[in-house]
Amino acid sequence: MGGEDPVLRVRDLRVAFGGVDAVRGVHLELRRGEVLGLVGESGSGKSTIALAVLGLLPDSATVSGSVRLDGVELRGAGDAALSRLRGNRIAMVFQDPLSAFTPVHRIGDQIAETIRAHRDISRRAARERAVELLDLVGIPEPRARAAAFPHEFSGGMRQRAMIAMAVANEPDVLLADEPTTALDVTIQAQVLDVLRTAQRATGAAMLLVSHDLGVIAGTADRVAVMYAGRIVETAPVHELFAAPRMPYTLGLIGAVPRLDGGTGTGMLVPIPGAPPAPGALPSGCSFAPRCPLADDVCRAAEPPLRKLADDHLVACRKAEELQGAAPADVFPVPEVPRTPAGPDDRPEVLRVTGLVKTFPLLKGVAFKRRVGSVYAVDGIDLRVRCGETLALVGESGSGKTTALFEVLGLSAPEGGSIEVLGQDVAGLTRQQAAALRGRTQIVFQDPMASLDPRMTVAGIIAEPLLARGVARAEAARRVPELLRQVGLEPGHADRFPHEFSGGQRQRIGIARALSVRPDLVVLDEPVSALDVSVQAGVLNLLRRLKAELGLAYLFVSHDLSVVRNIADRVSVVYLGRTVEAGAVREVFERPLHPYTQALLSAVPLPDPGVERRRARVLLAGDPPSPTQRHTGCRFRARCPLHAELAEADRERCVREVPQPVPHADDHVAACHFARPRAVLTAEA
């Protein structure tokens, strides 16, 4: 690719909002037909770059530097000139496809509008073209769907339509800002596929902004890593993942939990501390406060981005020392506490069998009447033993959270049974229920919303104790102990939640749950709101606490890589029903149910070598509505295996609901034609 001029060249781009620097001197080059991945944690300034290229930053932003498209300077160009380029030669795919479409105009019209803004063609011809584009991105019945409004599309279809709109005028440059972050993994796999196809079909250069190293590993040709508003390392994708030379990149790779289990002990390598706030950058290298290698020279001046090899630039003085280094060589790896073995004889803390929960669909103004049901949970089985982590895995809308709240509700379920600590919740007296409630605790997903902003940390942690009638003095004595246990300063007990970072807030939530010494802790997506480098620390903490305190976790998550890291056993649900369950290693390496196989194969691995040569099980379409009553197997409409079966066998999927069948020691799958298929490793 050497001699060709870059189609987009960004030089020394600086963006500040009200005196606070968000982007600090970024250089980027994008060549025709290539995909440049821009990785970074939240607040690193990566989305700001995309908007700055388009000239769409708010008026409050001060921008300097140079942005050239085919050698023509865009900075300082008038709005009329920039408007001619936007959507025409530079197009953007935004993150949240629901809010990115105007709710009151038809999808087809919104795409046609993009064409008519730049081409002198009739309304009718533009509509025709919009239908072709929707067809191109794989929307079924494109002519009918073009007349639909955004709210009538599913998330995945909206993002496809967004891509159709972006490539409508065959742009030279595509900017994709976290294009799949709001989507479920199986839909993410579909959309990434469409994005790659569209990019190749138009020959555009693409800037792919993402926080997900797996997405980058599978799609990008070159990668630029951002930290605190600067690019700290850039290299071809294989080289970056195989031989990173900047401690931050190394830390990021070590902090990501891997679906294939990775190597070594299974403990993640967290980067200590948290990214600096944009307004409070340290002097010298902005990563120095978190870097174990930093010395006085690092802290004195910010290192420039320098050339290490032909296409490998790095902003670190120690890059030479890092040749061949692994994350664990640089960052301290926490001790691995071993969970005592012999899981079979430990007592069960939770057993859920055939759980059912439906919600009525009501209609009518004055007199509500039932017109249907949402079958939110329709046959979930769970079993958690003492000292064990069971992960409940499924896509959004699969009934995970409903099941969880049914368990915590401690009242008789609509169908099936729930036993907590050996007691069936159906026959509990109020006193028994109150006693059980103290032994099951929850940690919520959003660490900000789940802490009362007007209570001090000490007040938050002591509250469950006081509610259980513990004396105030005794509760106050426990607080510093709990804070130390979750890795926080006991001296910070009188601070308020907003004074803590996201990861620290989640630790406060964990301390609150632990205060009453529960036996079972329910974790509802506890790390999904956190950045990778912070998430690793919280996951390690959870593992340590489990080993030290002998806790059992029910861990709800949509992130299979996290599940692989933390769980002992896993239960996969599809449309409210358990389809496969068993030991994590067994289920992930020998998945039996076609849905589990598809789910696992859709999760991108942060390893470009493996990621690009894996077996793919792409699912068609979206999950059906949970308001339908299903006969037979509810997965068959999307099932890749069902499509390959002989006519007589298919009949069985239509007629007969598959029941969970044991296939190995601790491995159950509910599929008539279950057969293992490895999806994590590269194909030979």
Partner: protein
């Protein structure tokens, strides 16, 4: 959607019936038609008053339910009875309605349109001088009583007429009495009479709507889809109009409908000050006269306008927002 609206209309019919019954009963209990004839010079004999009240159907010596059934029977056939001066309520109703419509329609429509534009414009220019000035003026207007503004407008008109030495601006009644001439002359005469009341009504509408529209527009300005529209290559103005204002109008549909209602029934002061004999003035004078049938007629009118406004709000909301259409 059609079935939904038909059902809505059904609910409205029930509500209207309830409103009519209640207002008849309340008016009959609260008003004392005999008082209207008391203390007259020359005095009217109680027998004559009694007879008169019986003729128009409001004699309180008859049981209330009797009177109501009598009235309801005729009202069902579209006859709202006789006024206390023994003229037709229907005729008065029609005349008053016409006056109110002529007085209010232009001012209301003009005020709504200008209010929306002013609100959208000030939202786009948030915290700039123009936004602050419009905001200040709006709040000044909203805190000014109608009669004060009307008197100020009149004073201004008198000053204008005096300085120019003409009587160009007229501010009493609907038309010059005894005017003769062709269609053009009459139209011009009516227009100059309409000028001040229209300005007064429009100003209040602008002041009110611009506040609501400014806030709904501000909600939309930071939205992702407006950014998408700009990223497609739309210029700022067309993005703001086609994607911004179009969406920001949705929550306004409720304000529009009920604002229309407030103008219709709340124009009493404007009518009185400018000497127009519309519904508002009729309401006050019929209460003063203890005229049961007229008060009920005005109440029925108000109820119909309320329900129609609600219906209109639903229609408008459905027209503006595809998300509610198949609810």
């Amino acid at each position: 959607m059609g079935a939904y609206l038909a059902k809505r209309l059904g609910y409205y019919a029930v509500l209207l019936l309830a409103a009519v019954c209640l207002s008849y009963l309340l008016a009959s209990l609260a008003l004392d038609p005999r008082a209207y004839f008391a203390g007259r010079q020359p005095p009217i004999s109680p027998a004559a008053v009694d007879h008169h009240l019986t003729v128009i159907g409001v004699n309180d010596h008859r049981p209330l339910l009797d009177r109501f059934w009598h009235w309801a029977g005729r009202a069902a056939h579209g006859d709202l009875g006789r006024t206390i001066d023994d003229t037709s309520v229907n005729a008065e109703f029609g005349r008053r309605l016409g006056v109110s419509l002529r007085l209010l329609l232009i001012g209301t429509l003009l005020g709504t349109a200008l209010g929306v534009l002013a609100g959208a414009w000030t939202a786009v220019r948030q915290y700039r001088l123009s936004d602050r000035l419009v905001t200040l003026a709006s709040f000044a207007l909203l805190s000014t009583p109608v009669f004060l503004l009307a008197v100020l407008l009149k004073t201004g008109a008198i000053w204008f007429n005096n300085t120019t030495g003409t009587d160009l601006i007229q501010f009493t009644g609907e038309q010059s009495p005894g005017l003769t001439g062709g269609f053009g002359t009459v139209l011009k005469d009516r227009a100059v009479h309409l000028l001040l009341p229209t300005i007064s009504i429009a100003l209040f509408a602008i002041a009110g709507y611009s506040r609501y529209q400014r806030s709904t527009m501000l909600d939309v300005l930071g939205s992702d889809y407006l950014r998408t529209a700009r990223a497609k290559g739309l210029r700022r103005r067309s993005a703001l109009l086609r994607h911004g204002l179009r969406t920001a109008l949705i929550p306004m549909s409720t304000y529009f409908s009920y604002g229309f209602l407030a103008l219709f029934t709340g124009a009493t002061f404007t009518e009185t000050i400018f000497g127009w004999h519309g519904m508002g003035e009729w309401f006050i004078s019929s209460i003063n006269k203890n005229d049961v049938n007229s008060v009920v007629a005005v109440n029925v009118f108000a109820a119909v306008v309320v329900l129609l406004s609600g219906f209109l709000a639903d229609l408008l909301h459905a027209a503006l927002d595809p998300r509610v259409r198949h609810a």
